[in-house]
């Protein structure tokens, strides 16, 4: 069976075509195309402009994806799109495109939960069977484990997402948003040496990032006013790289801690990291050390599948479609709020 997936819940527009051969065989990625709306340094992406970007590019991307996959309209079984969660306007423009394709091609629609898309794609690509999932991106921070037909949220960020914290700090420093603000913070952090004191906000399996962002923003403002500041321990001049380093070390330690607590709670020793922040090599390293300590392992992904993409929507949608799930045209809405544990996971036992 073959499905096409459309994703546009944030500033990436992704279209992918996936094929599920006979049961038990791995899924085949036929095409996976993405176009990112990049804003100038110091600016975030606004819903209105992002939606316009998606509207401008969606037809071109669908055509490209179909050509690259080498399939015809007749080969497609269903059209999968992101129902939520995400930003309203971008979600809507992609949902409209999906509805149009459905009417044009006479194919069934499948609305997909964005988070479940990440998890299912992660399991498929890495072969992790039943891992604790850390889903970290610009919009979401969740520790998830599967139990009885649902992906249950064990811990989550109580305010802003970890990726949002990193992105907004990139804006403070006016670092480039190309290819992604978080990527550029990661590169800068590699040159950092001094660990500055930041709040550490973990409560059980939940965490919070807005206080950390406020603190690091204050440190950045102080640095700008007085560039000659020295670290009290190393005696070296503090640089923006040190700020990025301190921010990463602190927030990633929090993420690894809540993940470890969830692993101890459910008795699992596999971790799967999904979402855009999951590309960060320092986070993957730290998680790897923790998992090895527990006699387990970590499954990470590269930017093709960790960052928002169409193929994950196609994959999760096709899993649901195979169990008989479809979204009728009149119900093919999208929603900004759509919790991971609302989805009934019929395709797993």
């Amino acid at each position: 069976m073959i499905a096409i997936g459309l994703e546009g819940s944030a500033n990436k527009l992704g279209v992918g075509v996936i094929s599920h051969p006979a049961p038990g065989k791995p899924a085949q990625v036929l095409s996976n195309i993405r176009h990112t709306f990049v804003t100038p340094p110091g600016e975030g992406f606004l819903p209105k402009d992002t939606a316009k970007h998606h509207r401008t590019w969606v037809v071109r991307l669908v055509k490209e994806a179909m050509t690259e996959a080498g399939v015809s309209i007749n080969d497609i079984d269903c059209i999968c799109y992101t129902k939520g969660p995400g930003m309203g306007a971008p979600l809507q423009s992609v949902a409209v495109a999906a509805r149009m394709l459905s009417l044009l091609w006479q194919k069934e629609l499948v609305g997909v939960n964005h988070c479940v898309g990440h998890i299912e794609m992660g399991r498929e690509i890495t072969g992790a069977d039943n891992p604790v999932v850390l889903y970290v991106s610009g919009g979401n921070t969740q520790v998830i484990a599967y139990a009885e037909q649902r992906y249950r949220i064990f811990g989550e960020a109580l305010d802003i997402a970890v990726g949002n914290c990193l992105d907004r700090f990139a804006r403070t420093l006016e670092i480039s948003n190309d290819p992604a603000p978080g990527y550029n913070i990661e590169q800068l952090a590699k040159k950092g040496r001094a660990l500055l004191d930041l709040p550490y906000a973990v409560k059980g399996m939940d965490c919070s990032f807005s206080g950390i962002l406020a603190s690091i923003d204050i440190l950045a403002a102080e640095l700008k006013a007085n560039p000659e500041q020295r670290d009290s321990i190393t005696g070296e001049v503090i640089t923006p790289a040190d700020l990025c380093f301190s921010l990463q070390e602190t927030v990633f330690a929090m993420l690894v801690e809540i993940t470890e607590r969830a692993m101890a709670h459910v008795g699992s020793n596999q971790v799967l990291i999904v979402g855009g922040v999951g590309c960060n090599e320092r986070l993957q390293d730290m998680m790897g050390i923790m998992a090895r300590d527990r006699g387990g392992s970590v499954f990470g992904m590269d930017e093709r599948f960790a960052i928002d993409n169409g193929i994950m929507i196609a994959h999760a949608g096709l899993e649901a479609y195979k169990t008989g799930f479809t979204t009728p045209l009149e119900e093919s809405t999208c929603t900004q709020r759509f919790r991971t544990d609302e989805v009934f996971v019929r395709w797993r036992d």
Binding site: P85, G139, N140, L195, D197, Y200, A253, A264, R337, R339
Partner: protein, 270 residues
């Protein structure tokens, strides 16, 4: 602080170097009792062979930056000790603090004899099921236990401490006198006997907020519901006694209704 013990070597695959207190000559090597995500709990006779104590060790986390790691370990050991000392001073039943070394990462506290409520309650429920006693019949003993739990939590909250992780695994039943707890002569009627002692203050904090107190009760209520569904109906007894335990407890119970309505989780944005 449960009965069965795991040998430290068996559980620690990578043979960490333990702080010197663990290697000190003593009557017996420290026994690893439980291993959480954060800390290891040992039973040690470091002080005197006749006076066992509980050693809570927070090993350093190699994934964390050493400065951050030392800061967190120090902060957590000190705040746990402060809360325990405060409880002890105010007469809340908790283990006494004997010693600590926040740099080496350990806290030594009183060893509490007995078993956790989770185990005792499950045994009690199992035995009743085997004897085919219906729910609600002859459960005065359980009602009495619920009352003692409610009173203990109330006393904790009254002094401005919230536990942060109230479950039936963090409530101990300490035998009332040494002679009673003598092995197999224990009958079903005495199974739920004992003084309730609150343990594991790793997530505790000092707070007078009704919201925090209500969340504490909610977590306990959920723990009862998921671990002992057949005793859940009697949770109202815990709340009834709690309501009597300090001035302002009824406000907390009102708040608990709000917390129940929304659950622990917020509605997700984006």
């Amino acid at each position: 602080m449960e009965a069965q013990a795991i040998h430290p070597c068996a559980a620690n695959s990578d043979e960490r170097v333990l702080p010197s207190i663990f290697r000190h000559p003593s009557a017996a090597a420290p026994l690893l009792i439980t291993q959480g995500a954060e800390a290891l709990l040992y039973r040690s006779t470091y002080l005197l062979p006749s006076t066992p104590c509980a050693l809570k060790y927070r090993p350093s986390k190699p994934y964390r930056h050493p400065i951050l790691d030392a800061r967190l370990t120090k902060h957590r050991i000190l705040s746990e000790a402060r809360v325990l000392v405060k409880c002890r001073r105010e007469g809340v039943p908790v283990p006494a603090v004997y010693a600590l070394d926040e740099a080496a990462g350990w806290l030594m506290i009183e060893w509490i004899e007995g078993e956790v409520v989770r185990i005792r309650l499950n045994e009690w429920l199992k035995r009743r099921k085997e004897e085919d006693i219906a729910e609600g019949v002859d459960d005065g003993e359980l009602l009495e236990l619920m009352t003692r739990v409610g009173s203990a939590v109330g006393r904790l909250h009254a002094i401005g401490v919230v536990h942060g992780d109230l479950t039936t695994s963090n409530l101990m039943l300490r035998p009332r006198s040494r002679e009673v707890s003598n092995g197999d002569s224990e009958t079903a009627s005495k199974m739920l006997d004992g003084n309730v002692v609150l343990i594991d203050f790793g997530l505790a904090s000092q707070s007078q907020a009704d919201e925090d107190r209500a969340v504490d009760l909610y977590v306990l209520e959920r723990a009862f519901g998921s671990t002992h569904p057949r005793a859940e109906s009697l949770f109202v007894e815990v709340l009834r006694e709690y309501g009597r335990s300090f001035k302002g407890a009824n406000v907390v119970l009102k708040k608990l209704e709000d917390v129940r309505m929304r659950g622990r989780k917020r509605s997700m944005l984006g």
